[in-house]
């Protein structure tokens, strides 16, 4: 009898402990939530666009290698003009390194989900990321690979650009229709790294005198480099073929790709090629 009581009691204690342990694992931390990070090439990449010099550009693949994607909670606002490291009260590493295809999906595709992590609740109003050269995957050896087609006046030029300049962007709060990064306890929020490829080629739907066009390279300089109806070039090739002024302009435009919605970022560009 005594043994039976002891046995039943032990079972009861074990069972209760087991249930308590499981329940604690299932109940989420009330001070945390799920923070998502997305990469967005906008409609320019998903649907294609017309460059400032009339070339219709559509992307088959647009790989960007993202690293050290970090979100910050800062007390005021980040000044992208001045730059510097955000003075954050909370920091969360969202993505150590990952290559994503901004052209994934069809014209109606949502911005690419890069990662989702559990993070402390609060306002994440600053974001930074790097674009180093990838060590593996579809963009191995490069920070950005574009596989696309340009068409104008019946002429079609398939082209591939492989960029090995390493970029870094530090940005403030997302600027768009909605607010992002406001993470409630037990809830969900998202952040977005936006890429403005119209800065590189211009926008044929904007006036020629618009700043988006006056500063863009367009596609014509690249079209002139095509051989046998196609173009395959990496950064080294572009530097050799483009004029020094055009290549410097190209590098400057690479630095302007990163945004948070319409919000600007502080950018930097590094080149690790031999002879640079």
């Amino acid at each position: 009898m005594r043994k039976e009581v002891l046995g039943l009691g032990s079972l009861a204690v074990l069972g209760t402990s087991f249930l308590l342990g499981c329940s604690q694992n299932q109940v989420p931390d009330k001070d945390k939530g799920i923070l998502e990070i997305r990469a967005n090439g906008e409609d320019f990449v998903r649907e294609g666009f017309v460059s400032k010099d009339g070339w219709k550009i559509t992307f088959d693949k647009l790989y960007v290698n993202l690293a050290e994607v970090t979100a910050y909670q800062i007390t005021s606002s980040y000044d992208a003009e001045t730059g510097g490291q955000p003075q954050a009260t909370e920091t969360v590493l969202l993505v150590p390194e990952k290559t994503v295809d901004l052209a994934e999906g069809d014209e109606t595709a949502a911005p690419i989900l890069v990662a989702k992590v559990q993070a402390t609740a609060g306002r994440y109003n600053a974001l930074s990321w790097k674009m180093p050269t990838a060590t593996e995957g579809p963009a191995a050896g490069y920070s950005l690979v574009a596989i696309a087609t340009a068409t104008k006046d019946g002429l079609t030029i398939p082209f591939t650009l492989k960029i090995d300049e390493e970029l870094q962007f530090t940005c403030g709060d997302f600027v768009g229709d909605d607010r992002k990064g406001i993470l409630p306890p037990g809830g969900k929020a998202d952040l977005e790294a936006t890429f403005h490829f119209d800065h590189l080629f211009g926008d044929g739907e904007a006036p020629p005198e618009d700043e988006i066009n006056t500063g863009a390279l367009g596609f014509a300089p690249l079209a002139a480099l095509a051989e046998n109806g196609k173009l395959e070039a990496d950064s080294n090739t572009l530097q050799q073929i483009l004029s020094p002024g055009e290549y410097k302009q190209f590098q400057g435009l690479l630095s302007s790709l990163g945004h948070v919605g319409e919000g600007h970022c502080h950018d930097s560009l590094m080149v690790h090629r031999q002879g640079q």
Binding site: S76, S77, Y78, E81, E211, I212, E262
Partner: protein, 181 residues
């Protein structure tokens, strides 16, 4: 004596009512209130004229507190709620460009001077402070109602005085001690 009492009561009520009649004239009040003015420009220095503006209050960064547009010079002005101290945010957007500026509002004292702790840039944006005078005016000219009200009060005092007069005469005529009220 009773007639004098009646006249005295009428004088008092008319005099008091006259003071209230003066209060129904035009009344203009004002107070100074601190305003925040932003100026939004593109990197080229061109003003962001007629750009979309959204203001967010410190206690609700998710929902717009006020919406508007900049003027031809890229300026926009608003008066923050004095009861909401903290970081006010102003978002300006136009033609695919935009930015957010955070303005710290610690407290607003009685004279309307704003104590701001920090400011940030939106392109070449500048944040300035200005004092704004708000004026309110009231005017009540409903004369017929006033006359009826005056007449009613006067008649009330007359009636009360006549009641006590009659009561006094009654007790005098019956030689009975006045009833203690």
């Amino acid at each position: 004596m009773n007639g004098k009492l009646i006249l005295t009561l009428m004088f008092i009520c008319l005099g008091g009512w006259q003071e209230r009649a003066i209060a129904h004239g035009a009344n203009i009040e004002y107070k100074t209130a601190p305003a925040i003015e932003i100026q939004a420009t593109y990197d080229s220095g061109t003003p962001m004229a007629n750009a979309q503006v959204v203001v967010y209050a410190p206690d609700d960064p998710n929902n717009p507190w006020q919406k508007g547009t900049t003027d031809e010079k890229g300026n926009f002005r608003f008066i923050p709620d004095e009861s909401k101290s903290g970081y006010w945010e102003v978002k300006v957007r136009q033609a695919g460009h935009g930015g957010i500026v955070t303005i710290a509002v610690d407290s607003l004292n009685a004279t309307g001077n704003q104590q701001s702790a920090s400011q940030s840039k939106l392109g070449n944006q500048q944040t300035t402070e200005a004092n704004t005078i708000l004026a309110r005016a009231s005017n009540d000219n409903k004369m017929p109602q006033k006359l009826v009200a005056i007449a009613s009060v006067v008649w009330g005092f007359i009636g009360t005085a006549l009641f006590f007069y009659r009561l006094k005469n009654y007790h005098q005529n019956t030689d009975k001690p006045a009833r203690q009220l």
